[in-house]
Subunit: 216 residues, 2 copies
């Protein structure tokens, strides 16, 4: 049945393409969320918050499509596993959009003040850039199924964990002069970036498992 | 094919039973995590942390089983949707176990000190009890597919959100005398309970959607 197989292949390619479209959206979202929080830019923050609804809609459509493909094509074990993995990856990507949304909401909550004291601008900028780099590499892992790149995402996440520890150290140092409310904002902000990166690692691991049959 | 249908029905019942077993485990985990953090009890905290590995293993086994059922039985759309929903519920339950684990890790990190100042003991106790009540009701929703009960879980979550706001208000009040490090612990603790309850809401919504075909 070469024709039916080809339709199915097109459907699988369509799923991969939507995962890449979602990746592009969460990359833009985390990048703009970081810009919004560093520049206390309400307009960009509102844009990120609105984009999250579009990410949710796209994920919802994708999940429905995947289930329809499974129901109609009754795929063999390997293809089924790829489709179930795609369902899980879409859930991770949706949560990455939520994390960008949460960052943007901190911008909005503090506006017109800033949530980021001067001495933490460089660190938060670094966390934002690391998050974007990890998500971009995760997109390459989805596109290429390159297992080495998947392992690199894990290592890049160690960098994020290190930045996160540095953030907490700054907050609890005796020199901290911005009070508890600011420390709460920054604790949550740190958690959002860390979770964003964790989901990118999760996506990369799923690809790795799909390709090798082994968890890294 | 009444015999094959019956085997399939047994398999679906087995999936539901494992979801209920996981629910029982996360109920115990969040209850004991709360006890550990209120009584700075390291032994109970270690137990919760170990239990989380068993929850992860059980979820992993369940997911493999669900994919095998889909591959072998090639279920019709309704049954397929139920099985995909079970996959998502198992992911929520696994995250609920993680949240209990995170609470227990705060106990361990602060030991032999306590993470909870005296004036917040009642509130954290209340958050722990609310989390347990929501998870218990979520288990009833899984067992009975009662749609009204599913909506009740949403309302109970409003109670959790209110407790969470109360916690943050306490931390940022001028009377707060326990410093930034303690406020960071409690911010994260509040987030863990809130996310635990969110996942219970997510499970209940999935059951509601499965039964009614509509998101509540």
């Amino acid at each position: 049945m070469p024709l039916i197989r080809s339709v199915f292949q097109d459907e699988l390619d369509g799923v991969s393409q939507t995962l890449l479209d979602l990746t592009a959206m969460v990359c833009t979202a985390i990048s703009e969320a970081t810009t919004s929080v560093l520049n206390r830019d309400l307009t960009i923050a509102e844009k990120v918050i609105e984009t999250d609804d579009r990410i949710d809609d796209m994920q919802h459509e994708l999940d429905g499509r995947i289930i329809t493909i499974i129901a109609r094509q009754q795929p063999v074990a390997t293809d089924l596993r790829a489709l179930v993995t795609a369902l899980r990856m879409s859930a991770d990507l949706e949560r990455m959009g939520d994390m960008a949304h949460h960052v943007a909401k901190i911008t909005r909550m503090r506006h017109p003040e800033t949530a980021i004291p001067t001495e933490l601008i460089a660190l938060i900028k670094n966390m934002g850039e690391t998050a974007l780099a990890i998500a971009t590499k995760m997109g390459q892992v989805i596109a290429t199924r390159n297992v080495d790149l998947a392992l690199e995402v894990e290592r890049d996440d160690d960098e994020m964990d290190q930045l996160h520890r540095q953030l907490i150290s700054t907050l609890i140092a005796p020199q901290w002069s911005h009070g508890v409310e600011s420390a709460i904002d920054l604790t949550l902000l740190g958690r959002y970036y860390e979770r964003f990166a964790d989901h990118a690692v999760s996506v990369s691991r799923r690809v790795h498992f799909l390709v090798t049959g082994n968890y890294s």
